[in-house]
């Protein structure tokens, strides 16, 4: 069996008395869509923070493509091919949609200590940016509008375009359906289905319909640790998972 693309081993993180991550282990294989689910407060955000590098774990290690990235700063992880979207979108609101993606493309073309040429007319940035916007499903009518003016759905799509610009080997999606209406949610599901197989995806999501429709494997996070990991049918049938999560979700 080939080594997993992302391997999390024995991760621990405490905030005061709270064990936000408690001996978490997780493996994401090459090319799979791996969903990470769990009730509120299960430690999903803290786990993502440690995988992307915004939070430093107290113990444990994170391997990406066989190399230890536990202490690597966030920007360097992106350059290794681990890119992410945010649950609460992080966009350059004053820049246009196209300029947002052009900057993401620019980040891939080496350092930006270039002081003279007008980047806003640079077709080497704008052409790839347009392709990424099409790929993420952002309507061309919105491309010259400031990102701050876009609807919630379009903002989520733009986030996805920015993450794709890094040509990731692993795409970490932090609740891409959160805040979307039913039709926008379906559109996003279709977009993700189109991406499936072209890169590994770690999908953190509350929308169970989307998770079970898309995922190759599902991991269930409860109280900071991985309770179960396996194909969707297996997870759905797992009594421990039902007790800890699914039933509670149905009642609530």
């Amino acid at each position: 069996m080939t080594a997993p693309l992302l391997l999390v081993e024995g991760l621990h993180k405490r905030f005061g008395g709270l064990r936000a991550t408690d001996d978490l282990s997780l493996a994401v294989r090459m090319g799979e869509l791996h969903a990470l689910i769990g009730p509120n407060g299960a430690g999903k955000s803290t786990a993502i923070g440690q995988i992307t590098g915004e939070i430093r774990p107290d113990a444990g290690r994170i391997l990406f493509a066989g190399r230890d990235i536990t202490r690597l700063p966030p920007a360097r992880r992106v350059r290794r091919g681990l890119s992410r979207t945010f649950q609460i979108v992080q966009l350059l609101d004053e820049a246009t949609t196209l300029e947002n993606v052009a900057l993401a493309v620019q980040a891939q073309q080496g350092h930006s200590f270039r002081f003279w040429r007008d980047a806003r007319r640079d077709e080497r940035l704008r052409q790839p940016a347009r392709l990424l916007l099409l790929q993420a499903g952002v309507e061309p009518a919105l491309w010259e509008r400031p990102a701050g003016d876009l609807s919630a759905g379009a903002r989520k799509q733009l986030e996805l375009a920015l993450a794709l610009a890094a040509a990731p080997r692993l795409l970490l999606l932090d609740e891409p359906m959160a805040g979307l209406g039913p039709s926008e949610s379906r559109a996003m599901t279709e977009t993700l289905r189109g991406l499936k197989g072209r890169m590994a995806i770690l999908l953190v999501e509350h929308d169970m319909e989307a998770v079970f429709a898309l995922a190759d494997r599902v991991s269930v996070l409860v109280d900071g640790r991985c309770l179960a990991s396996g194909p969707p049918e297996e997870i759905r049938a797992d009594p421990a998972v039902r007790a800890a999560y699914l039933t509670e979700d149905e009642e609530g």
Partner: protein, 334 residues
């Protein structure tokens, strides 16, 4: 098919006549019998360089530096100290000869300002928000007290620069020629800023202002870019300080005082944060108001204060916002 048409905005049509007016100013001042106006315009041009330099970090990069007088003063003192050692005929630290050559002193001032900004920036840029404001202020105050204590260079009393800088082909004792030199350097500096803020570097800088978290997620670590902008900004402020030393023929710790940092900040906010011409307008307005109000009353600051509050309250985006949409109040922008 996607390419945007290259049509110059109305602002670009206004600039050439304005520049022509600025060039003609010394002759006009002579003809109108107010030769002192040339000196006033020189001060405006010098402060415009300093304010635009601050605007690069404050307006474009979102770094609210409250210590830019430090670089202004470093530039001034570089000219003053090089002159002093030239007049004493005694090299600085035994090996740096003094000089009055203006190209040399201007470049030296920018190098010193850049080095100072590299040092202060490298430490300050590890902080954000109010902390950054306070730490830049603290560094500027340290330099202020350093120069107050340097008795060899006049300490509190400052240092006279009795000989004008020498620039090949120019006679800088002539007020008009010094003015034209400052004006040309202002134009060159603005041209540089215009290119830099539109370049790839400028896009990263503007991104750092809007969301550092987003920049990180794109794979760009903002720190080196912010530091580079801070250094460039320090060099611009030092250039202005060096010109001021030549204009006033005097440098003193006042150039590094925190009130000077505040004045530069007021110019940027008054004129329009994050615009190319805003700080120029702000410098012209503040230096001009000071001059005319001071002639009317010795309590001129009493009048200036409410005026500034009015601009901040009723013209969000400063004078530039008023110019762009004549008749429309700035706050309509929300």
């Amino acid at each position: 098919m996607f390419r945007r048409a290259r049509r110059p905005s109305p602002g670009w049509l206004v600039l050439p006549p304005l520049l022509a007016l600025a060039i003609a100013l010394p002759w006009a001042a002579e003809a109108l019998g107010t030769p002192a106006s040339t000196g006033l315009a020189t001060r405006m041009a010098i402060y415009a360089i300093a304010a635009s330099a601050l605007n690069l970090v404050l307006g474009y990069g979102g770094m609210v530096s409250f210590g830019h007088a430090a670089f202004f003063g470093l530039g001034g003192y570089t000219v003053g100290i090089l002159y002093a050692h030239w007049s004493w005929q005694e090299p600085l630290w035994g090996f740096i000869p003094g000089t009055t050559s203006l190209p040399v002193t201007l470049l030296a001032a920018m190098a010193v300002g850049g080095a100072g900004a590299a040092l202060i920036g490298a430490l300050s840029l590890r902080t954000r928000g109010v902390q950054f404001i306070m730490i830049t202020l603290a560094f500027a105050q340290m330099l202020f007290f350093l120069f107050v204590s340097l008795k060899a260079y006049g300490g509190d009393d400052g240092l006279s620069v009795r000989r004008q800088g020498e620039f090949p082909g120019l006679n800088l004792r002539d007020a008009a020629q010094l003015y034209w030199l400052c004006l040309s350097l202002l134009v060159a500096w603005l041209l540089l800023l215009w290119r830099v803020t539109r370049s790839r570097f400028g896009q990263v800088l503007s991104g750092a202002r809007q969301s550092e978290r987003r920049l990180q997620a794109l794979g760009i670590a903002p720190y080196p870019y912010k530091l580079a902008a801070f250094i460039l900004s320090g060099m611009g402020a030092a250039l202005a300080g060096a010109l001021m030393a030549n204009y006033a023929r005097f440098v003193s710790p006042d150039m590094l005082a925190w009130t000077k940092s505040g004045e530069l900040m007021i110019m940027v906010i008054l004129g329009g944060v994050g615009t190319l011409m805003g700080p120029v307008l702000g410098a012209i307005a503040l230096v001009g108001l000071e001059y005319w109000l001071a002639a009317l009353t010795e309590h001129w600051q009493f009048v200036l204060g409410p005026l500034l509050i009015a601009v901040v309250l009723f013209a969000r985006g400063g004078l530039m916002a008023l110019l762009r949409r004549p008749g429309a109040p700035g706050r309509a922008q929300a």
